[in-house]
Symmetry: C3
Subunit: 156 residues, 3 copies
């Protein structure tokens, strides 16, 4: 039994749901792999990346995208950032891990984190802008071969 998750969304709530499933799987001894694509790539960005995206459109995209897992928006009730702040406070109050903590828990459990190369090319994100926890940079072929071995394959 294996699990794969395509993390397309960069919304904090959806990303948390994906990590909950991956961490849950890992704790049950199930191999889990997460593919971060499109807005999901923001989850894997370093808080202070060494370099910047090149080109006007990429720079604008970069400017308008969350800087890292610490600054993800909510899919609903984002309210200019108030929603995520409130959600984080709630989570802290109930001793629930936030996304950066979930990344650590996932890694400790053996969850594999893969960054989508097509997204990196499109968005102008380079390897040195990503956190060290990333296991691999890969494309859709790698995803499909992993997913073909799994029977729980989700798109988040």
């Amino acid at each position: 039994m294996k699990v794969t998750l395509v993390v397309f969304s960069g919304d904090m709530d959806k990303v948390m749901a994906a990590f909950n499933i991956a961490i849950g799987a890992a704790s049950m001894g199930i191999e889990a792999t997460m593919f971060f694509t499109f807005w999901g790539i923001n989850v894997l960005k370093r808080p202070n990346p060494p370099s910047k995206a090149k080109g006007f459109i990429r720079s604008m995209l970069s400017m308008m995208s969350p800087a890292s897992a610490h600054k993800l928006p909510l899919s609903r009730l984002n309210m200019l950032g108030m929603g995520p702040l409130m959600m984080k406070k709630l989570m802290k109050q109930y001793k629930m891990p936030d996304v950066p903590e979930m990344i650590s828990l996932a890694k400790n459990g053996g969850v594999k984190l893969i960054a989508c190369t097509t997204t990196m090319e499109l968005m102008g994100v380079s390897k040195d802008q990503l956190i060290d926890e990333v296991d691999k940079l890969a494309g859709v072929a790698t995803y499909l071969s992993k997913a073909s071995e799994a029977n729980i394959n989700l798109f988040v």
Copy 2:
């Protein structure tokens, strides 16, 4: 053959799509299980819940969340509630069931409805605020063991 659906979204259109698949499966004799998590928990709320969420943030979350399956927003063209009203009118005109009717159809077909305990804790939703149609309160481990027996596992 089995089907599981993680209903993360609380949007009427997405929730309807999830129920369509579950009800379709049930009518073909396929076992279907729906896990309601995060915004999806709103689908399972009673129209007039006996108690209220405690704490400032939870109260605000509760206040800004749809009260029940009767009042879900649309993922697009919500237009301050006009969209869902129009959609419901269209559905009535074409004799399509709305979400509360879909819950009945699903239950009659043997679809299992599970409420996510982590979400309930986070959002301050108690058991007595949920509709009677809920079969079980459970966490990610229950989801994963159900999904591991199924080959159609979707995240909505």
Copy 3:
């Protein structure tokens, strides 16, 4: 090994992700089937459809929906259409196909495109409003029987 994708979303970014997976699968010799439902039906509309939706609500829905695969919005940073324009420019710059080109690539690779009949009825979309590339009009039973043969089943 087979792949099915429910394309519920009509957002350009999500639709592109779905096509990337389907085209990737096809290029690896994996049978892929895409079911376009709800907002996803907009992907399959002709740029200049011969007829119009009937009834007030359907006409409004039709008026507010993207006319075809050429005019899909983004799920984030749509910015009244500026986002999709920028994204398309970026994609062109990096020689990535846009959605209409992806439809051709998918068809050439043998990907099956299915339009959801329930959605067509609800939204008042007729067969002659859809592009020739559509292989079939079908409902949830067809989806479920296809998905039951596949182990990579995603909801986008």
